[in-house]
């Protein structure tokens, strides 16, 4: 890719991400035989599988890349696909006589963290969110630059949450210290964010959830609320509580199917009276030269 096309690639990618449109970049990383696209060739594919820029091969290779791109975007995990351009029946149906490997990677705009409230928990959430690459918005009358130095947006005048906007990529934490938390949930749930966490005691959580239920909020929406918010880390201080909530958000952001258990247990590493136990085969690929 020459410098002119490199800058065009960056421009198109930047423009899509700024518009909040996730895309997939496809890069040819290896070819054998007479594949049409060369290593380094790039393309940008949108969420509908449409080629919006570039080229990594035509015909059935292109349609295979588009299909894979949609899956990569859904899973948000990079993938290396191998295209057999030789076998017309079992390959991609395009007998050019070659073989290609294409690296696909989802490019999404930063996930969004919306913090409603102020205080140490809210401040730490803002700090951790920024460090993790979230686009952080804090909505509270006391959302000063001093309290939330790394926040991208601070909304200080919004008595009825009219400026609260979230979407399927927004992680919302309501840390209003119980004030107007019912109204906040009413406003937020209708917009179906990725996560809604309520910082509250068990009693307060139950009261608010029951009231929402009584007022006709569907159970399907109520089930989206984490109340009390956070993973059970034994957190006590505001900063620790913020960490437990951030951990819950990361777990969801990274697929939501993980156990939340200690990695040592998940990976099967154990220290027993007999010594160190690891799952069979775990050491084979990790031996250090002696």
């Amino acid at each position: 890719m020459g410098s002119a096309s490199a800058s065009e690639f960056v421009r198109v990618l930047d423009s899509r991400l700024r518009a909040g449109e996730p895309v997939v970049t496809a890069t040819v990383v290896r070819i054998e035989g007479s594949a049409s696209a060369k290593p380094g060739a790039k393309a940008i594919i949108d969420a509908q599988g449409r080629l919006v820029w570039g080229w990594v091969g035509g015909g059935c290779a292109e349609s295979a890349v588009r299909d894979a791109a949609r899956e990569v975007l859904a899973e948000r995990r990079p993938r290396l696909i191998r295209l057999d351009l030789d076998d017309e029946v079992l390959g991609v149906g395009m007998p050019c006589g070659g073989y290609m490997e294409i690296y696909l990677e989802a490019m999404t705009h930063d996930p969004k963290l919306l913090v409603l409230g102020h205080g140490r928990i809210a401040e730490t959430l803002g700090m951790l969110g920024s460090a993790l690459g979230f686009h952080v918005t804090v909505n509270d009358a006391l959302a000063t630059a001093e309290a939330f130095p790394s926040a991208n947006v601070r909304v200080t005048e919004d008595p009825d949450y009219a400026k609260v906007e979230c979407d399927a990529d927004t992680y919302v934490v309501i840390a209003t210290q119980h004030k107007s938390d019912y109204e906040a949930l009413q406003r937020v749930l209708r917009q179906r964010p990725a996560y809604v966490g309520l910082v509250a005691s068990r009693k307060r959580s139950a009261l608010v959830l029951e009231r929402l239920h009584e007022d006709g909020v569907p159970l399907e929406l109520l089930r989206r609320v984490a109340a009390p918010a956070g993973l059970d880390l034994g957190a006590e201080t505001p900063q620790e509580i913020a960490l437990s909530i951030t951990a819950e958000i990361v777990q969801l952001w990274r697929g939501g199917s993980t156990s939340g258990q200690p990695l040592m247990s998940v990976k099967g590493v154990r220290i027993t009276d007999a010594g160190v136990e690891v799952p069979e085969g775990a050491l084979e690929s990790a031996k250090c030269p002696t």
Binding site: A141, L142, T176, K179
Partner: protein, 147 residues
Amino acid sequence: MPDLSDTPAAIEALYREVVLEHYRNPRNRAPLAHATAEALVVNPVCGDQVRVEVELAGGRIADVSARARGCSIAVAAGSVMTELVRGLDAEQARALGDVAGRVSRGEATDPAIDARLRAFARVAALPSRQRCATLAWEALAEALAQA
């Protein structure tokens, strides 16, 4: 309506009945289509905020709304305020705001005062909460000053 006397028990009963009811069902929250003036007041101590909009017609408050984000007292006080000031002129509304302030500081206990205002006499014993009861009245006064 509970006993209108100003015994502590009666004040407590009134507080629970009026404040909690208005907190759970705040009146006149919708933005006004033809607001003449508006003001937003924030309590910098706790972050509670109240936006008040007024529509004046012929020198009187034809319509008013209060949207409060804060504690139960701030929300209820905004709701009660909107019920009491419709039809008043600016001077009358400000005077009523003064009464609300004196009630919340324990300085006014006249049974002739509207029960919805006297309900806030309970906060006289809670100095840190007194401004919660007057925040909406402050916003109203600020909006009227701009009209």
